[in-house]
């Protein structure tokens, strides 16, 4: 009895362009993918292959001078690109949580982190500030920050890199969204912290049975935390394979080579 369940996220023929004085650049070129309920899909690719744009496009937040030229995006059955502003706002944060990289610059420096998390909750739930504050404290504890009650009043500049990343995860997940989009959530962090943060991510996602899109440059992360993985290059989604298949050898050698080439240890070269 295999019920044909709809994927949580359906992307078809997504093309995103950036207009500049030297010409038009296609950041995403005819990208199509599905994310099934409960699965974590990884996206690997080098810098500039369009991974971050993909995440932002999924919630219709492509910053100018970019625009979505064509394509269809369906999340939980809703056509994202056709949503009016109020519902788009509700989609973001409530149904879809976004985890960004470089968490520190994405937090408001003059407001306490607890207040920021609570504000996200308040934006989507008609409840009291006290209630939101408590929810936020629970989230801080869930993301593994010690002394959550104290830490609620801290500011971003008072926290370490790993901790602000956890705060961002808390902000993304406080409304228990069904879809989580993570944009290189661990780049810039210490290797040991990376591992902790990713395990946390996986546990929270699986606890809520959310589906997730995990963008990364690290094949190791993909191997450990994703069910399927797609390779992006120059705006195109080239291959999509099941992670289990890679290691059981059921995948073509060309694909393996591609995965290896798209993989990690991209040292910063000046």
């Amino acid at each position: 009895m295999n019920n044909e369940t709809q994927p949580d996220v359906i992307v078809r023929n997504l093309t995103v362009e950036f207009l500049s004085k030297t010409g038009t650049v296609r950041a995403l070129n005819d990208v199509s993918l599905d994310i099934n309920p409960g699965e974590t899909v990884g996206i690997v690719g080098q810098s500039g292959s369009g991974k971050s744009v993909l995440i932002r496009s999924l919630v219709n937040f492509v910053p100018k001078p970019g625009r979505i030229k064509q394509g269809a995006i369906t999340i939980n059955g809703q056509d994202v690109l056709a949503l009016p502003p109020a519902q788009l706002r509700s989609l973001r944060g409530r149904n879809v949580g976004v985890i960004v990289q470089n968490a520190r610059v994405h937090l408001n420096p003059v407001i306490s982190v607890g207040r920021q998390i609570a504000n996200v909750y308040l934006a989507h739930h008609d409840t009291t500030r006290r209630d939101a504050w408590e929810r936020a404290t629970e989230m801080l504890s869930a993301v593994g920050i010690p002394d959550p009650k104290e830490r609620m009043r801290s500011y971003a500049h008072e926290m370490s890199g790993g901790m602000v990343q956890r705060v961002v995860i808390a902000m993304a997940l406080v409304c228990r969204p069904g879809v989580v989009l993570a944009d290189e959530p661990t780049s810039g962090l210490d290797v040991t912290i990376q591992d902790q943060v990713l395990r946390l991510f996986r546990s929270l996602v699986s606890k809520t049975e959310a589906s997730a899109l995990l963008v990364t440059r690290d094949m190791g992360i993909v191997a450990n935390f994703c069910d399927r993985v797609g390779v992006m290059d120059n705006g195109r989604l080239i291959e999509m394979v099941r992670v289990a298949d890679i290691f059981s050898g059921a995948v073509q050698p060309q694909t393996k080579a591609l995965l290896a080439a798209a993989s990690l240890n991209e040292k910063q070269v000046f």
């Binding site: 973001r92 420096p109 504000n119 996200v120």
Partner: protein, 366 residues
């Protein structure tokens, strides 16, 4: 006290030393902890800063060429009178003694006697300073109430709003403030007859008893509504003159910081989390307000002196006008007193501003 040490005298001495050391250590740690609190630091440093500035003013005035005794004694004075005046002014003493006398007088509130008014400088300032403060506070309020919303709107608004406010900025920066005041007088008083007579702060004979020196407040305290209307009416033209011209840089600054503020990463993330437009706006505002606040504070301080020209045009009897007249007449004591007062006000306002920052921006607190 340990058992071993309590038995002998040297042991007792050793114990005492130990306790003193611990006490000293605790004290230093306490002071260091206090020091780390920014607010305390600023407050403690304020006094030496005042002293330093006063001495700097002293040095500056002493560097002026010419013998002030000539001025005080008058142009027809004989050599003996000049000599006597020199002794009276303490100019025959060494520079250190003069400095000491200067600081001593300052501490007693003695700023000397003005040449023109023959009043103690302190008394002159006590009358004129509130006049200026009332005027520039009014101008500042106008700026805040009118220009701040305009600035925010134009930051959010499109190209036309941007061009308009840019044009206003250039225009206001090119107008001489005294001339602009004259133009406003011409239009609103001479031509239209809407404004009251543009001289002085209040109709002659309606002055209320002095409480704060702020006529608007004092008239209200004396329950004299006619006087209040008169005082307020006279504030409008000079206040508007100042606000129009000195508000422009504040507006420009506000626009720029708001515009860049709205592009910040944390604002983008707030969008991504689905926060409402008002919530996002509040985020941006909270952050963008800091540089314009600095700007407003600096403008306020600047206005204390810069309002002099407008004060002269409107015969306001203010601080700047007093400084101008003192300078032109080489009124040695008055000039010295006003420069000192100006700098002290600047220091006070900057201190208040810094303290306000600690409330708004948590990054400053350590």
């Amino acid at each position: 006290m340990t058992k071993k040490n309590s038995r002998t005298i040297s042991g007792y001495g050793r114990e005492l030393l130990c306790q003193t050391r611990i006490g000293a250590e605790l004290l230093t740690r306490f002071i260091k902890a206090l020091w780390r609190i920014y607010v305390v630091r600023r407050l403690i440093l304020f006094i030496p800063l005042l002293v330093g500035v006063s001495m700097a003013v002293f040095v500056l005035i002493r560097m002026a060429p010419g013998n002030p005794a000539y001025l005080f004694a008058g142009p027809t004075a004989s050599l003996e009178t000049i000599r006597a005046m020199e002794i009276k002014l303490g100019l025959d003493q060494s520079i250190w003694v003069q400095c000491f006398l200067y600081m001593k007088n300052l501490a007693n509130g003695d700023l000397g006697v003005s040449l023109i008014t023959s009043q103690p400088v302190l008394k002159d300032l006590a009358v004129r300073l509130p006049a200026t403060l009332e005027l520039i506070t009014f101008a500042m309020l106008l700026i805040i109430v009118v220009l701040v919303p305009l600035g925010i709107l134009s930051a959010v608004g499109g190209n036309l709003a941007g061009r308009l406010s840019s044009g206003y900025g250039f225009l206001a920066g090119s107008l001489p403030d005294f001339w602009w005041g004259l133009m406003l007088i011409f239009v609103f008083y001479t031509l239209l007859g809407w404004a009251p007579v543009p001289f002085g702060r209040i109709d002659f004979g309606l002055e209320p008893p002095v409480v704060t020196g702020f006529l608007t407040i004092d008239t209200l305290l004396a329950n004299d509504l006619a006087a209040f209307r008169s005082a307020f009416g006279r504030l409008i033209l000079p206040g508007f003159t100042l606000a129009f011209i000195f508000g422009a840089p504040v507006l420009k600054h506000l626009r720029t910081t708001m515009a860049t503020g709205l592009q910040a990463h944390y604002i983008q993330y707030a969008h991504l989390c689905g926060l409402s437009r008002t919530a996002i706006f509040r985020y941006a505002f909270r952050n963008s307000i800091i540089p314009p606040l600095t700007m407003a504070g600096m403008t306020y301080v600047y206005l204390v002196g810069a309002a002099a020209l407008v004060e002269s045009v409107f015969a306001w009897g203010g601080f700047g006008q007093y400084a101008v007249q003192a300078a032109i007449s080489s009124d040695y004591m008055a000039v010295s007193g006003t420069v000192l007062a100006a700098m002290l006000i600047a220091l006070c306002i900057y201190l208040i501003l810094d303290l306000v920052y600690t409330l708004i921006d948590p990054r400053v607190r350590n």
